[in-house]
C-alpha cells in the first residue's frame, strides 16, 4: 500500500519535471543504473549485500529518485532500494515495457534469479478506456512483457504467476489522463 503511494508520488514528480528527464538514463551507458556495472558489482554481491547500508553495491535512479541497488534477501522491502519499486507503467494500448522501467524490471529479474525461493504474482492492469475483455488481453500481454525480461535475467518461469485484471482493479479513481496513466500498469507482488 505504502509502496504504491510512493510510486504515485514519484510518477507525478516525473510529470512535473518531464523536461529534466536527463536524470533518468535508462540506456545502461550512464553512470546510474548501468546494466554492466551493476552486473559486475553483483556477480558475487548477493551474498555480501545487506540492506543495512554497508553492502550497497550500486545506485539506480528511477523517476528522478536515487536508490541503492542490492539483491540481498529482503531488499524488496527496503524503501531505499530500487527493488522497493514494484509497479511498471505503460503507454496507452501498449504492452511494451517503457525504457524508463527496463532497468527496474531487470533488477527484479536478477533478484528472483538469486533467490529461487522467492516468487511473485505479476498483475496486469489497464486504464478504463476500451472494452473490458480486450483490456484483459492487453493487461495479460503487459504482464507477459515484464515476465520475458525477468526470465531473461535468470528468473524461472515457476517463480512467476501472471494474472490479468484488465480494467477491473484501478489503482486510482478518476476519468482523466492522470488517473489513466497511473492505472496502466503491471504490479510485481512478492509472495510472503
Amino acid at each position: 500500500m505504502k509502496i504504491k503511494m510512493i510510486a504515485i508520488v514519484l510518477l507525478l514528480a516525473l510529470g512535473l519535471t518531464a523536461c529534466g528527464e536527463h536524470a533518468v538514463k535508462p540506456d545502461g551507458s550512464g553512470s546510474t543504473a548501468g546494466g554492466g556495472s551493476t552486473d559486475s558489482a553483483t556477480a558475487g554481491g548477493a551474498q555480501v549485500g545487506s540492506i543495512n547500508g554497508s553492502g550497497i553495491e550500486d545506485e539506480a535512479v528511477l523517476a528522478g529518485q536515487s536508490y541503492a541497488v542490492s539483491y540481498a534477501k529482503g531488499a524488496i522491502d527496503d524503501p531505499g532500494n530500487i527493488l522497493s519499486n514494484k509497479i511498471i507503467y505503460f503507454d496507452y494500448d501498449s504492452s511494451q515495457v517503457n525504457d524508463k522501467y527496463l532497468e527496474l524490471v531487470k533488477h527484479h529479474g536478477k533478484y528472483l534469479a538469486l533467490h529461487a525461493d522467492e516468487s511473485i504474482r505479476l498483475e496486469g492492469h489497464t486504464d478504463e478506456r476500451g472494452t473490458r475483455e480486450y483490456n484483459i488481453a492487453l493487461a495479460d500481454r503487459r504482464a507477459q512483457s515484464v515476465k520475458r525480461i525477468l526470465m531473461f535475467q535468470g528468473a524461472a518461469s515457476e517463480q512467476i504467476t501472471i494474472i490479468s485484471y484488465g480494467e477491473e482493479k484501478p489503482s486510482v479513481l478518476g476519468h482523466d489522463e492522470e488517473s489513466w496513466s497511473l492505472n496502466r500498469r503491471a504490479e510485481l507482488v512478492y509472495r510472503k
Binding site: 503511494m5 475483455e133 484483459i136 477491473e168 476519468h175
Partner: protein, 438 residues
C-alpha cells in the same frame, strides 16, 4: 412452464437479498413515434397493486421501445373500460392512432384474469385482444407480454420486454480519508426484469465478476469470476442456483458466449501463450482452438447460424473486428476499417448488423456495422460507452455508459434515434446482457 417460473422467482426472492432497483430515464425520444393512449386498467374484485400496475407498465414499455409516444395519463380525454364505451371520434380528434383498454379481475380460485384490447382509431375497430389467467406474482410479466403483443402487432418487432436482463453491480467501499486510493469493491451478479424491477443477486464477490452471457433458453448464465484469485468460467442456472466450473486453464479464461444452437461455448483462453478464441463443445467439454495469431484475439460473438463468429483482433496493430468460421482450417477475414479502435462485437439476432464499441481519441461510442453495405453508423455519444448487447428482437441495444461520473446502463434503438438510461440509486452497474425470449 410459466407456473414453474413464477415459483422459482418467488423462491429467489425469499433466499437472496434484493438490491437497489434500476430507475429508467428516457433521454432521447423519437419525433415520429406513434401516438397511443393506454387507459388505466380497471381492477375488479381486487385493489390495484401498486407494484404491478399493469397499464402503467405497458405505458412505460411502449415509451421505452422508442416506437410509441403514449399519452400522459392526465391528458386522457376519456377512460373507457369496455369496447362499447370507446368513442372513436373523440380519440381521432385528439390525434390518437391506437388505444389500449383492459382489466384485471379476481377469479373465484384467486387467480387473476388480465384482459386487454387494442383499438385502431382510424379503422374504428379492435385490432388485437387477449386474456391471461395468472398468479399474482406473474402480473408484471403479463404486463410486459401485453407490451410485446402490442409492439409486435403494430411494428412487426418480435417480443423483448417479457424477459430479463443480467448485469454486474459494484459497490465501492469507502476510500482511506485524504487518499485517492479506491476502497475495496464488492461485485454482484444480478438478474432483473427488463425494466430493472425485481433484481435478484446470483453471486456476490470481493473479486471481479465479468462478461455474463445468456444460454439460448434464458435459463443459464455463463460468466467469468475471479473469486478464487484467478479468472474462471462458470455456468450458473438462475432458477436452481446450481453452477459448474467449465474453464479454469492457466492464464486468461474470458469472454464466454453461448452458441445460438446451445451446443458450444466460445471463449478466450491464453493457455497456449497468447489470447486466442476457442470453442468448447458442451456435451463433452471438447476444446478446439479457432485462432492462432500471435496478436490479441478475443470478444467472440456468434452469428445466428452458430457456424461462424465475429471477434476483436489486434492483428493489424489496433483492435478491429474480424469474422471466422468454426470449421477446421477456417481463416479470419477483416470486417472493419474505419478508425483505430473497433472492439467487442455483438451480432444482431437476424445476423445483418454488428453492434460494437468504436473508439476515437478519448471517446468510446456504440456503433453498428451493416454487413450488407459494409457501412458503419455511430449510435451513441460516449465518452465511455461499452459492452453493447442486442435485445432479443434486435430493436434495441443495451450497453454500459458513464453519466454524472457514474457507471450505469443505457439502451439505444437500433437506428440510434431513441435512448434511455437505467441507473442505480447507489453504486455502479455495467456489462448488461438481455435474455433471449423462451
Amino acid at each position: 412452464m410459466k407456473r414453474l417460473l413464477a415459483i422459482s422467482i418467488l423462491f429467489f426472492a425469499a433466499v437472496s437479498q434484493s438490491w437497489a432497483v434500476l430507475k429508467i430515464d428516457i433521454t432521447e425520444g423519437v419525433e415520429a413515434a406513434v401516438p397511443i393512449a393506454v387507459v388505466p386498467f380497471s381492477w375488479r374484485g381486487v385493489a390495484k397493486i401498486q407494484d404491478a400496475d399493469v397499464s402503467a407498465i405497458v405505458t412505460s414499455d411502449l415509451a421505452r421501445s422508442g416506437q410509441f409516444a403514449p399519452l400522459p395519463e392526465q391528458d386522457l380525454i376519456a377512460r373507457p373500460a369496455t369496447p362499447e364505451q370507446v368513442d372513436f371520434k373523440t380519440w381521432r380528434i385528439a390525434g390518437i392512432d391506437h388505444l389500449v383498454i383492459g382489466s384485471v379481475t379476481r377469479q373465484p380460485d384467486k387467480t387473476l384474469k388480465v384482459e386487454f384490447r387494442l383499438f385502431d382509431i382510424l379503422k374504428a375497430d379492435q385490432s388485437l385482444g387477449y386474456s391471461f389467467t395468472v398468479q399474482l406474482s406473474q402480473l408484471r410479466s403479463v404486463a410486459h407480454r401485453i407490451s410485446d403483443h402490442i409492439i409486435e402487432h403494430l411494428t412487426g418487432l418480435k417480443p423483448a420486454f417479457d424477459s430479463r436482463i443480467t448485469y454486474v453491480t459494484t459497490q465501492q467501499n469507502k476510500a482511506i480519508p485524504g487518499s485517492n486510493k479506491p476502497g475495496r469493491i464488492s461485485y454482484r451478479l444480478q438478474v432483473a426484469d427488463t425494466d430493472g424491477f425485481n433484481p435478484q443477486t446470483l453471486l456476490t464477490s470481493n473479486e471481479p465478476i465479468m462478461s455474463p452471457s445468456w444460454s439460448p433458453d434464458g435459463k443459464q448464465l455463463v460468466y467469468v469470476s475471479f473469486e478464487l484469485g484467478k479468472p474462471e468460467i462458470y455456468i450458473h442456472n438462475i432458477f436452481t442456483g446450481v453452477r459448474s466450473k467449465v474453464s479454469a486453464f492457466k492464464g486468461i479464461n474470458g469472454a464466454p458466449v453461448w452458441s445460438p444452437d446451445g451446443k458450444y461455448l466460445a471463449m478466450t483462453l491464453s493457455k497456449d501463450g497468447n489470447p486466442d478464441i476457442y470453442i468448447m463443445r458442451l456435451k463433452d467439454k471438447m476444446l478446439r482452438r479457432l485462432t492462432t495469431h500471435w496478436s490479441i484475439d478475443t470478444e467472440a460473438s456468434w452469428m445466428p447460424d452458430s457456424r461462424s463468429l465475429v471477434f476483436t483482433s489486434s492483428r493489424s496493430g489496433k483492435p478491429q473486428l474480424y469474422t471466422i468460421g468454426i470449421q477446421p482450417g477456417a481463416r479470419a477475414s477483416r470486417l472493419t476499417f474505419d478508425g483505430n479502435y473497433n472492439a467487442d462485437p455483438t451480432v444482431s439476432p437476424d445476423g445483418k448488423t454488428i453492434g460494437f464499441v468504436h473508439g476515437e481519441g478519448n471517446s468510446y461510442r456504440i456503433a453498428v456495422y451493416h454487413l450488407d453495405t459494409r457501412h458503419m453508423e455511430i449510435l451513441t455519444d460516449g465518452p465511455l460507452d461499452e459492452s453493447p448487447e442486442y435485445a432479443p428482437n434486435g430493436g434495441m441495444l443495451i450497453y454500459a455508459t458513464q453519466f454524472d461520473n457514474r457507471a450505469m446502463l443505457a439502451a439505444v434503438s437500433a437506428d440510434g434515434r431513441h435512448k434511455y438510461r437505467l441507473r442505480l440509486e447507489e453504486g455502479e452497474v455495467r456489462e448488461p446482457a438481455w435474455a433471449p425470449i423462451q
